[in-house]
Structures are given as structure tokens and as C-alpha cells.
Subunit: 314 residues, 6 copies
Amino acid sequence: MAKGIVHYEVGEQVDIFLLIKSATKGVASNGKPFLTLILQDQSGEIEAKLWDASQKDEEMYVAQNIVKIFGDIHHYRGRNQLKIRNIRLAEPHENVSASDFVETAPMSQEDMIDKITQFIFEMKNANIQRITRHLLKKHQKEFLTYPAATKNHHEFASGLAYHVVSMLELAKAIVNLYPSLDKDLLYAGVILHDLGKVTELSGPIATNYTVAGNLLGHISIMVNEIAEAANELQIEGEEVMVLQHLVLSHHGKAEWGSPKPPMIKEAEILHYIDNIDAKMNMLDRALEKVKPGEFTERIFALDNRSFYKPTFHK
Amino acid sequence: MAKGIVHYEVGEQVDIFLLIKSATKGVASNGKPFLTLILQDQSGEIEAKLWDASQKDEEMYVAQNIVKIFGDIHHYRGRNQLKIRNIRLAEPHENVSASDFVETAPMSQEDMIDKITQFIFEMKNANIQRITRHLLKKHQKEFLTYPAATKNHHEFASGLAYHVVSMLELAKAIVNLYPSLDKDLLYAGVILHDLGKVTELSGPIATNYTVAGNLLGHISIMVNEIAEAANELQIEGEEVMVLQHLVLSHHGKAEWGSPKPPMIKEAEILHYIDNIDAKMNMLDRALEKVKPGEFTERIFALDNRSFYKPTFHK
Amino acid sequence: MAKGIVHYEVGEQVDIFLLIKSATKGVASNGKPFLTLILQDQSGEIEAKLWDASQKDEEMYVAQNIVKIFGDIHHYRGRNQLKIRNIRLAEPHENVSASDFVETAPMSQEDMIDKITQFIFEMKNANIQRITRHLLKKHQKEFLTYPAATKNHHEFASGLAYHVVSMLELAKAIVNLYPSLDKDLLYAGVILHDLGKVTELSGPIATNYTVAGNLLGHISIMVNEIAEAANELQIEGEEVMVLQHLVLSHHGKAEWGSPKPPMIKEAEILHYIDNIDAKMNMLDRALEKVKPGEFTERIFALDNRSFYKPTFHK
Amino acid sequence: MAKGIVHYEVGEQVDIFLLIKSATKGVASNGKPFLTLILQDQSGEIEAKLWDASQKDEEMYVAQNIVKIFGDIHHYRGRNQLKIRNIRLAEPHENVSASDFVETAPMSQEDMIDKITQFIFEMKNANIQRITRHLLKKHQKEFLTYPAATKNHHEFASGLAYHVVSMLELAKAIVNLYPSLDKDLLYAGVILHDLGKVTELSGPIATNYTVAGNLLGHISIMVNEIAEAANELQIEGEEVMVLQHLVLSHHGKAEWGSPKPPMIKEAEILHYIDNIDAKMNMLDRALEKVKPGEFTERIFALDNRSFYKPTFHK
Amino acid sequence: MAKGIVHYEVGEQVDIFLLIKSATKGVASNGKPFLTLILQDQSGEIEAKLWDASQKDEEMYVAQNIVKIFGDIHHYRGRNQLKIRNIRLAEPHENVSASDFVETAPMSQEDMIDKITQFIFEMKNANIQRITRHLLKKHQKEFLTYPAATKNHHEFASGLAYHVVSMLELAKAIVNLYPSLDKDLLYAGVILHDLGKVTELSGPIATNYTVAGNLLGHISIMVNEIAEAANELQIEGEEVMVLQHLVLSHHGKAEWGSPKPPMIKEAEILHYIDNIDAKMNMLDRALEKVKPGEFTERIFALDNRSFYKPTFHK
Amino acid sequence: MAKGIVHYEVGEQVDIFLLIKSATKGVASNGKPFLTLILQDQSGEIEAKLWDASQKDEEMYVAQNIVKIFGDIHHYRGRNQLKIRNIRLAEPHENVSASDFVETAPMSQEDMIDKITQFIFEMKNANIQRITRHLLKKHQKEFLTYPAATKNHHEFASGLAYHVVSMLELAKAIVNLYPSLDKDLLYAGVILHDLGKVTELSGPIATNYTVAGNLLGHISIMVNEIAEAANELQIEGEEVMVLQHLVLSHHGKAEWGSPKPPMIKEAEILHYIDNIDAKMNMLDRALEKVKPGEFTERIFALDNRSFYKPTFHK
């Protein structure tokens, strides 16, 4: 595969396809309109200016379209910028599609759903099993394509499902070490904890918060849905309330958005598992970009810390 | 009516009926069992020790029973205590009932429900009106008898309904001054905001948190119920989500138990109205107990402050 | 009246009078001087660049002058900008005055002072009444023209008086619902609470903090003046200290600038009333600018929250 | 002088005069009244129980009376207690007075006032000098006898003046090292900063907060008095406001009770000097009570820390 | 084995050996001395009063001695108490030793040291391996007997080593899931992170903080020792500093006692692993004591929360 | 000496030598490269743009080189900028050296080391004296040239030594007033408290954090070195640990970077002395730049406050 756009150095020439993530019109100091394009491929993003943009340019170069660009890499205010020498829309016969330019989970949707289904299949508590299966099935399509967040961690296509799969593996390892844990409950908590994000977020690409996402949040949305699911399935045991509690408390503290802190052992552990998987994802992605002996850029969701890559790490 | 138990002075004799709020067994330093009784009437509570308690005493003097006590008031470790000289159970013909000994709202249940019904009746937005009416009807019986809290404010029988009635009056005054407010929405928010307490709390007497109250809380409980009500009534407008948001955000901040802060104007105002009515109730009750020129005892829910009653107040 | 400057859309032509709020000189990348003008009318502000500004331009186009501008609206870095095609000073015969371009309270100064005077007239406690009347009279002129703040809420001409009038109405409604409140005290607290702002702030236009404002603040300034007023009027009752306490504590908490928290019931309620009126003002102004189904921009003084305008609100 | 009451060990006999600090009546488990006496001399306090107290005992053994006690020291719940074997009131001919039993500053009132007067005498800025002299003279009598606080530091007779004298010495040393400091301003700040305590506190013995102390606090009280003093002395320079600011800001932060943080260099330094002198006083008194190699009890005003006395300190 | 002391119910008779954990002398209201004994076996503790204690009793019944007690269980102020009917010291021929009465890790010292040694054996980075082995060997004896803390978690004999073994297992599981982790570094961090506790704490029984523990803390102590070890072993790579960093940052935040937050990926993960193992230990021990459908007592180190044991857990 | 670069006004011509602090390459909107130069002399810094920079320019105009510039002062975005009309490298015969352009302490290195040596010479506790002397000697060269910080206070050449000298003078004055202080211990604490900065920071010019500085911090580094010094000198008394504690706790609180708060009296006082000297330095430098009647710019390390220079200060 071609070199990703973020790996070009200043001065290098570029001649590649890129997806337009956003296009904004401006007026230059000479009074002429220009477009600021954010272009992306799977490796990341770069900014480019299209000077003296015509009316037609404005119509063609819009978000979600794919373009072929010839140009070179400049340095501007501390970041790389792509200087456009030639630009055109990709043509159908060139056979490129938007999904080729979007970062995606390193596991296929099929493999992910198989894995999760297996965990549900092995549950022994029927109430927990039926509610989990019902809700997963209900949202399966979005669940398999949505990111887990708009930024911070797993903010890529299918990031939500991939986050759940990783957490299930971690949960399984922990259950083996601490057998007093109720594994059905913990696995169900993992599968349901962020499922409300399919309603909170707008979709897999150019992800944003929906109005319901802003006003209710994924936690309250899913607590509601567990109640509805139990209703439809005519399930009445304490498991319903306990599952709601796991979702409700998975952010750990009121000030982090959980109206109730964990008050069930599995809820406490769910919170840690969520934390470890999210932080490992952020750390790996930040450390990938630096060399041994260097510090990463500051990571907002990790209290704005920089991390060091030891020289004895390759 | 007889003088309330909290108004007796040290040294005075007592010969009255009291309700046993709780009874706990202990063993004295001489090795004999005794009972610690918390006794109450509408004016408040007092502690009493029943020394050398027999097996039969233990069985008779339990919470919720009414006793006739003859004794006198002592001072012990900074509080009044009732020294029992004689005690017996009240007899049927004496015609006393538990509800005579419990503090209650200063308005009848009929008047309260009439007033609230009137507010609902005048709503113009049918979606808001139907959901509010449906949920009030569903929980009306408990709503009219439960306290609004286990302590802090309106912690008396029918306190929940009385808190709502006061808030409605205040909401009406505010709506008149700031006509940009959506009054249907604000009134519905007032009526529903604490309705989940009928599930969160155990009942009007010896009030405690239920398991659901602990694990989910009245906010999540009611957000669920609004969704269910809309379902049953087949209502689909944005009003459903907005009502859920009002309930969800009425504590104002994450750290005060609201997973989402107010993001609708009426939600913000609902939070203030709730605050004013609760604080006025606490303040009035604390100031009642002191004379002009004195400070009240510290009020925990008001940041543990003492309040001063000016000498020019009678 | 003409369309306000903030209501023009990108691409529209403009040919109107505007007041210069500020003018700053810069040097363009071609080495020539230019002026950055902030222009305003009652609807709000817009930025404009005057390129190749001559020495004479610099002298003419200064803050507080009124200009006639012909130009059009561009979009620049996420905000509208006015591109100047022609600019000149307004001429005397054109009959425009600075006060036409400044946002002002929606009630005349006369009506406001009448209303407040009526509240003072009805006070029964002579000590409270005399101090309040004395201080209001002393600062009446500035009180009627100053804003209530440099930003956040009521930051317009006569905003201070208008904030007090609204709070008095709200206080009256609350007093009716909670008759245990001392209304003389509460009304006096409302009238005096922000009166120190006539010393803390520099004036009604281009409002800033004075040195005394920075070093002492409006709270300490007014606490001083109450003492002086009592001195001059030879008043000695506890009312003096209690009024000082109301002013001293109206921000509610030490960390919000009140060296003593409220310790009098009316002081507590004064804090809530101030809060509600300030927040309603901010909310109404922010929501005015958006359409149903949209969120406002973030409001700093409301914990940086955005507010949603429901689709069922017109 | 006799051994102080806190220096007796468990088991030792006691036959000394003590001042009654407080006397509280209780009822023993045998139904008989008893008195709990807190007794003190200059070394500190001890508790004693007077069992089977008669009506006459109750009348004789009240706060501020001096008693002669014969008894011995017991250990009860982690503290020493004085077991009374014989008790009687001191008789006039025995020639003991309450002031012999109260801790007091280690410097005479005359020496303290001389020292402070000397600092005022050397001031060069007449405005600062006159205001400081005026206010000190106005409150001189109370200033020389009051404690600096009800607890924490300098909580002994004349503690307020002694705290000021120590701070002046420290200020002088600092001014010598950092000559850019305005010494008139700094010395005046030291002398005035806590002078409001003569109004905030009730007096030198059994010290408590007055109502004005609670509602206004010593900071606002003194800010007022500086304004009044300037008025009376017809002083109008910026020094008045700056002195007010020094008093206003000497607690350093809003959350520590200063409505404005220091915004003048001398205000910042005043805050540090106050801190050092107060903390040295607390530390010396706590460390006095322990042996090398031991930790002090926790000191609340020092973030509840214990301090260690190194073994190489004698 | 015999029934543990905490499992006896009120009213039951007791005739068992117990270890005296502490003995404190008091004086009863009748003037006679008594001893308050805290007695323990592996199941936990109970309080007992020995009334009318003679001089000889005081000498015999001291901490660390074993006694044979005949008596019965009472309830006193919300807790069980052992009423002593007969007490005597255990005799040599009865063959009981202090270690029989102390809670201890559920794994032998041999098994623990074998397991840890295996982890060290498999390390590939020689610098990390040698430092870890050196320090473990140096403190091995104490490491295998000390608790991990004085309270909160693993506060039992050999708790420190057991905590490390559990964490190693958890670290191994996590390394398998996130292969980007440097396992040598993480395992070494686990082994060394709390090793300074052998200096910070006083020993395995009646554990307290040493002076060095108070003044330096286990973190600074171990950071020092890593430097010394590297010195002695003449190791100079960056591993030394990185290991110091892992120890330094394992509490996660400055306010939790780490002067530097984690700035290495493995340091971040070490913090989570420490957290999970400590919290699981606390939770399991608290939940053990309650029945399904009940809440545990509040757990201080878990933000003072109570935890619920679901009814569907056995 | 010539007028410092920060003292030129807008419009003035400039013809002086300046040191290049940093040089960054950019690409102008016309596509041509340019250099952004930060230039400095002892008075401070100014920015300049070198347009149309050639390859040779890029090589010549790099950090640490000295240039002769002819140009004039412009105003750009609220700051002065130097418009370059002519630029060339300084020539050897012009006899200018980098150290002429760097701010430095107002005391010679010789005087500083003499003064500090005298304090050490007078110590009576041999253990404290020997450790202090040993560590000072070990790092003397860097100690005399390093700044005390990268910003905030004493961020100039030899700032570290100068900060220590000032603190020693202040410590001496305080010891004279509070003779209960152990002066050997306090002086040693002053000398050692920041000595770890010679390892934490990169050097006297263009100062930055080293990797060890980031991962360990100057506190842990020096605590280590005290242990090593004691080892080498075969010193074993409690002084070693107490000195470590002073260094460890000199930031005062966990959240300010001290893993242990002060638990020794001299440690507490050391923290205050450090604070006063640092804050006086910041305040003097900020106030120097403004005229009486003006406020300084906000000072980040003083809670982002502005300070006022009274009009009665010259």
C-alpha cells in the first residue's frame, strides 16, 4: 500500500488520492475566495489551501469526495501543509472508495461479532444472557461500524466493537485470576456499557453528538433500553436493575458522568477494565509517532501528560 | 393539643403517649439487658433507656408501637433524655394511632392533588400534559404520602407532594416575570422531578433507601418511566426526551448527581426553583427553634452553616 | 428601524451608520499601516479592516465616532467581517448620536426609578428605609446609566438599574409565597447589593474596572458606604450590620468573592434571586440568536455550557 | 512556681489551686447529679468529675471561680483525669486571682505598646502614619489584652499584640533584605491586619465570636474603620484604599476569607509574614510537649499534620 | 479448626484460646481499675473487659500473650463483646503459638518466592533482571512476612508478597493481551513498587509506621535503593532511571503521593494493576461478611462506598 | 551601555548587536521561505522576520549566533516587532560574546560561593556540615552557572546560586527572631533544596528539562544524592534522613510535587523561605516594567494575578 499522508517529510512531492474530510470557504487578503481542505487517508490528516477557488471548485470539493492531488509538503506554523499544484476529483474507473481512507479496527466485523456471540453463548444466567443478546441484536449494525468516541480513544470505524472485544478478553483474564467475580454479569456489562453510543453519536464518519446524545447521554439511553428490553422479554429478576447499575456507574464517579458510583463488585471492575483498554489504545497510538528517547505530545485524556519512550525500547 | 415532647424542660414530669421509632437492645455494665428507645410525637424525638428489660419487654416495645410513659426529663451528654418511671403499651380503647405522632404537611392530600391537577389541566402541549398526567396517576397514592427525603428538607409525611405544590406556585410566579419560559414544560418538570422517590424511598415512616434507590437513584428511575409512559401512550415528539432531560439534570451538576447539567432553559430554572423551596423549608424549620439574637444549629445541607435570627425579627 | 449589523448574511451589501467601539493600528505584510475597527449598533458588533490607512484616517476613525460605511459581508475565520468599500464620518446634519448605537435597558430611566422608589416607600422598618433611600439618592445618576457588569449579564446601558428592577419583582413574588421572609430587608438587599458597581466600574460605555474596583471590589465599597450612611443618618440598630451582611454575602461563597457566606435567611434568598435574574438574562440573549433544534454558543458564566432550543419552541 | 497541672503523671497526688473554666451538670447512671469540671492553670487544662453534687456545689463551682483541690491523677479514655478527694473554694486571704491561671504573652503590655509606637513614629508617609496611629489609639486597651484567635495560634491573653510585635520584627528583617518594599505600608499593614479582632471576638477570657464577628468578620470591620478614620482625619490620598486592600487581602485567597487576593507587593508579603509567625507559634507549642524522637499530636491548622522532633534536638 | 471468634452469635458460650492484640488500663466509675483487651484469632477481633483487674492481671495480660477464655458473647453499642467469666494464660504444654492467631496469606512463603523467582528468571533485559534480583534478595526475609499495609488491603502476615504474586499474575495476563508492553519492565515494577514497605513499616504484627516511613515514605526509600543497587552492581543504562520512575509514579498522581505522574506506558499500567489487586482484596473481604441482598459496611479506601451483594449471588 | 532592546518605542530606529535565541523556518503566502528570529540582549527579547531567506541565511542565522541589525520597531498583534532593514553576523574583531546578551545574577560567582561557604563553615553539627559541603563541592561548577528555573523566577544565569544566597540571608534573619530553630539544619536545607536542578535542567542557556528531570525530578534526584553522600562519608546519624526529608518536603504539599509534606519544623520554615524569595523576585521584575498607577501583566506563578503599583510609589 502507498505511503500514508502523515509520513511524508517537508519538501517531498505527493501524487495520491485523498478523502476530503471538510472544506471551508475563506476570503484571502487579495479579496479572492479560497478553500481550506482537510484531507485524510488511513494514516491521518493534512491541511491544504485551494487558492482562487471558483464557484465550481466550491461545488466539487466537498466533504466525503475523493480527490487526486499533485503537490508538495510545506511547513507552516509548526505543522505540515500540502501545497496543491494540481487537484481533480477521482473518477469512477479509478476504483477508490471512501472506506479506503478511513482508519478502521484491526479485526473484521465478522470476527468481532463471532467473538462477542461466543461470550454471550457461554453465559449461564438466562436473564442476563437474554437481555444482552436482545440489545446487541437490536443495534448490531451500528455497533459494528461506529467508533467508540469522537476523540481520545478508539475514534475509528468499528472502534466501538473493537473496544468491546478487547475488554472482553481482558475481563476473561481477570475472571480467571479472581474467581469470585460473576463472569456473566461482568461480560454483559462490557458488552452493554457503551452500546448507547449508537444513539449518542451521529455515525462512523465525521462523528458528532446527536441532540439525544447531548441531552441524555449514552448512559441514560442504555439504562432506558435495558428496562425496555426486560419489558419486552418479560424478565423480572434483580438482574435487570443490576445490569442498569453497571451501565450507570461505569464512569466510576459522579464528576465523570456516572450518577451513581459502582456499588457492585463487577461494576467496580468494569470501570477499571474500561479504563485500561482505553488508555492502552491512546498510549500505543501516541507512542507509535515518536522514537526511543523522545516524549509524545501531551495526551489530554491522560491528564495532559507526555509519555517517554525509553531508549532501550526499539 | 398536648405539649410536644421536645418542648419539655429538664426537670419537668411527663405523662404522655409516644410512638416508638426504634428500639435497640444493649447490655449494661452490671450484665443486665436494657433497651434504648427512640420515642417520637409530631414535635420531634427523645431517647429513653428501659433498664433491666425482660424478654417480654423486648417483644412489646418495638418500632411502630405506641406507649404511655410516665417519667421525667434529664440532661445527658448535651441532650435531653426521658427517664422512664413507668411504661406500658397504649390500649385500643385509648384511640391513638401512629399517624397522630408523625409530622405531616400543612395541607391536606385532597387540596394538594387538586392544585396539581389544575396545573396539568391548563397545559396546552398535549404530549407534555399526557405524560405528566399518566405518571402522576400511576404513582398518586405513594406520591401523596411519601416524604421528599430521608432528612434535610420536607422529611415528613406527604412532604413530597407538598414540596411539589410549593414549587409549582414559585414556578408560576417566575413564569409571570419571565414570559419567555415554556410554562407547560416547567410545570411538568416540577411535577416529575422527584417522582422517582416513590421507588427510591421505602415509605412515609422510618424512611430508608430501597435497593433500587441505592443502585439506580430516583433520577434514573424516573427517566426510565418517562420513556415507558411515552411508549404506552404512543407519544413520539421531542417532548419525551426534553422531559427526560429536565429530570436528569435537575440536580444541576455531575458532582451533585446529575449525569447531564441543564442544557434547556427550563431545566436550569427548575434547578433553581427546587433549590429555593428546599432551602426555605430547611431555614424556616431551623430558625423556628431559636430566639432573635441567636444562631441556629449548623445545617448540613447548607454547607454546614449556622443562621442568625436578627434581633429586630420577632 | 434598520436591520441590525449582526443580522446581515455573508454576501449581503451594507450601507449604514455604525459607532466605532475601538480602533487599533497594525502593519500589513506589505509594510503598510491598516486599522482594525470594531463597529457596533444596538444589535451587536462586527470587525472591519481599513487597509492602507493614512495618518488622517487614523485621526478620524477613533472610538466613539460614528461612521457611514458602504461595503459587504465576508466570512473570515469562522466569523463575519465587514469589507469596507467606502467609509466616512457621519455629519452633524445626519442627526445620529452615540446613544442610538448602544444597547440599552428595555425600560426608561424614569419608570425604573419610580418603581424602585415605590418599593422603598412601602418599607415599614425606618432604619432600613432611610439607609436605602440615602444611598440610592447619593448614586442615583450613575445607578441609572451604568451596566450591571462588563460582560456576562446586563452588560448594557442602564443594565444595573434594570437588573435591580427585575430582582425586585422576583423578590416580591417570592415574599408572597414565603411570608416568613422580612420583605423590607430583602428589598433593601436587592437595591444595595450591586450599588458599589458605580465605583467599581468606569462608566456606561467601554466599561472597565477602576483601580478601587480592582483593589477593593464593589462588595467592600458598599459595605463601607452603608456604615457611612448610618453614621450620617445617626442610625444605630442591628439593621446596619445586617444590611452590610447582605451585601457582603450576596455572592454566596468565599470562592465566589463573598468573605462571609449568607448567615441570614434573607441573605440566602438574595443570592438565589440575583442568580436567577442574571442567568435568565444570559439565557434569553443566547437563545435569541439560535433557531429551534440548535444549540447556543457556550456561555462562560454558566459553566461554559451550550443550551438547546427545543424544536417545539417557536 | 508550682508544677503545672498538665505535668503530673498518672498516680501522682495533687494539692493545688485551679481555675474553673467550665462546669456542666449531668445525671449519673445511679440517678444522682454530678458536675463535670474543666480546670485550668497556665500550663493547660484537666477534667474532673464531682460525684453526688449537691445544690450548693452546683452554685459554688461555676466558671471563673478558683478552687483548692486535693486528689490524684487517673487515666480515662486516653486522657488524664483528676479524681477529686477534697474540693473547696479558694479564700480571699489565700491571695490567688484568675489572671494567675491564664496563659499570657511573654512580654509586658508596656513593652509591646512601646515597640509598636516606635515603628509608627519612624514612618515617613504621613497619611499612613496618621491612620495607623489613630486606629491603634482608638482600640489600644482591647488590643493589648485580646488573644489573636479563639484557637490555633496566639490564643492567650495579649496574644493579639504579641503576634503584631513578632510580625513587626519579622517585617523589619525582610525589609532590610528586600529594600524595594515600602516599609511604612508593610508595618501599617502588620499593625492593622487583625485589629478588627477586638470587635470580632468577645474578650480575653472564654473567647468567642460576637454577632458582628460572625456576620461581618474582622476583615470587613477593619476595612470600614480605615475609611472612617480617613474621613475623620480628612485624609484623601490613595494610601487609604491601599491600606484597606492590605487588610482585605491578608488571608491570601478568596477561599481563606479574603474577598480580594493580594494585588500589591506589600500585601503579598504581609500574608507570608502573618503565616510564618502564626505557624512558628503553633509549632513551638506543639513540639514543647513531646520528647526528641516523638511526633506531636496532629495540628489542625497545619493541614492536620504531626511534626517530628529529631533525636539530635535536645 | 475451631470456629473463629467473629462467627459466634450473641448469647453463645465461648471457651477458646485467643491472642491479646492490645491491653489498655482504665478506671471504672466505682474507682476500680479494669483492662480493655482486644483479642484476636485468624477470623478477626473482639473486645473484652476484665473488671477489677489486679496488679498481677495487668502484668500477665499484655499484647502478644495468648489466653484461654471462658465467657459469652454480648451486644454492646452495635458490636459484639466478649464477657469474661474465666481467663488464664495459655500454658507451654498447650502448644499454641502467636502465629496460629494471625491472619496470613493463603499461599506458603516458599510457593510465593518460587513464583516470583520464576518471573525474574525469565527476564531478558539483564540490567532490569539484576537490579530486581539484587533488591529482592536483600530484603527477602522481611518481604515474605510483612503485610502490604497497616489497613485497607493485604493487611495480614505475608500480605506484601501475596499482593506482589497476584499482581504478577495479572500483569502476565495483560501483557498477553497488549504485547506492546515491555514485560521485563512491568514485572520488575510490580516486584519493586512496594518493597520499600519493609523499611516504612515496623513489622508483620501490630504494624505501624517507622520514623523513616513517616519522613521519607516507601517510595523515596525504594528509589534510593535502586540507585544504590545500580551502583553496587555497576549498572549504568537508562533502565535504572526508568525503574526508579516506575516506583516513583505508581500512586498515579501527586495528590496520592507520587511526586511524578506516570510518564512511561508500563508505569501507567503498573498503577492500574496495583489498583485492581488492592481493590479486589478489599471487596472480597467486605462482601464475605454480608449475605445476598445486603450492603457491606462503608469501605474507606473505596471513597467510603457500600457495596451490594446481589440476591442472585450465592 | 546601550539601551536594551525592550526599551525601544514603536517607530524608533535600531542599530545594535543581538543574540539569536531561536530561528524557525516558515513559508510565506507567496511561497517563499522566511525565518522567524527571536533576538535577545540582557533587557529581554524581540521577534523579527527575515523575509525571502536564502539557503545561506538559514545556515548563518541560527541560535547562539550574534548579529548586527539595522531596522525599526513596529507594532504587530499587541507586541513590538523588529522590522529588519539590514542584518549581518557579528565579526570577531567586534569583540562581542554570547554572555554579554544573557541576563545574569547581580552578584559575582566568587562572592556567592564565599558567602555560602561561610554559612557552611559556621555549622556546629558535623554530620550536617560534611554532607552539605560534600554535595556543594560535587556540583559547584554547575550550581554557580545554572538558573533556578526555566521560567517564573530566577530564570537567569547563576540564578540558582543567587536564589540560595538570598534565602540564606532570609533564613538568618528568621533564625535570629525564632531561636528555637535549628540553624544548621535550616541552612543546609536551603543549600541543598534545589541542588538537584543541576541534573534536572539542561544548562544555563536555552534551559530545558532533561529526561531525568522529567522522569525523576530534582527532588528525588537530590534525595538520592544525600544517601550516596552519607554512604561515601560513612555518616549514619538521623541527620541524613532529616536532610532528605527537608529536600523531599520543600514544595509543601503533595499536589505541589512533595511526596511528603513538611513534618519537621525547619522543613516547614524552609518552604516559606523558598516561597518568599521566589515571589519577591517575580514581583520585583514584573513591577519594574510598569509605572505607578498601573497594573503589571498577569503573573502565572502567582495564581495569574496582576499587581498594582501605587501612585505614591516612585
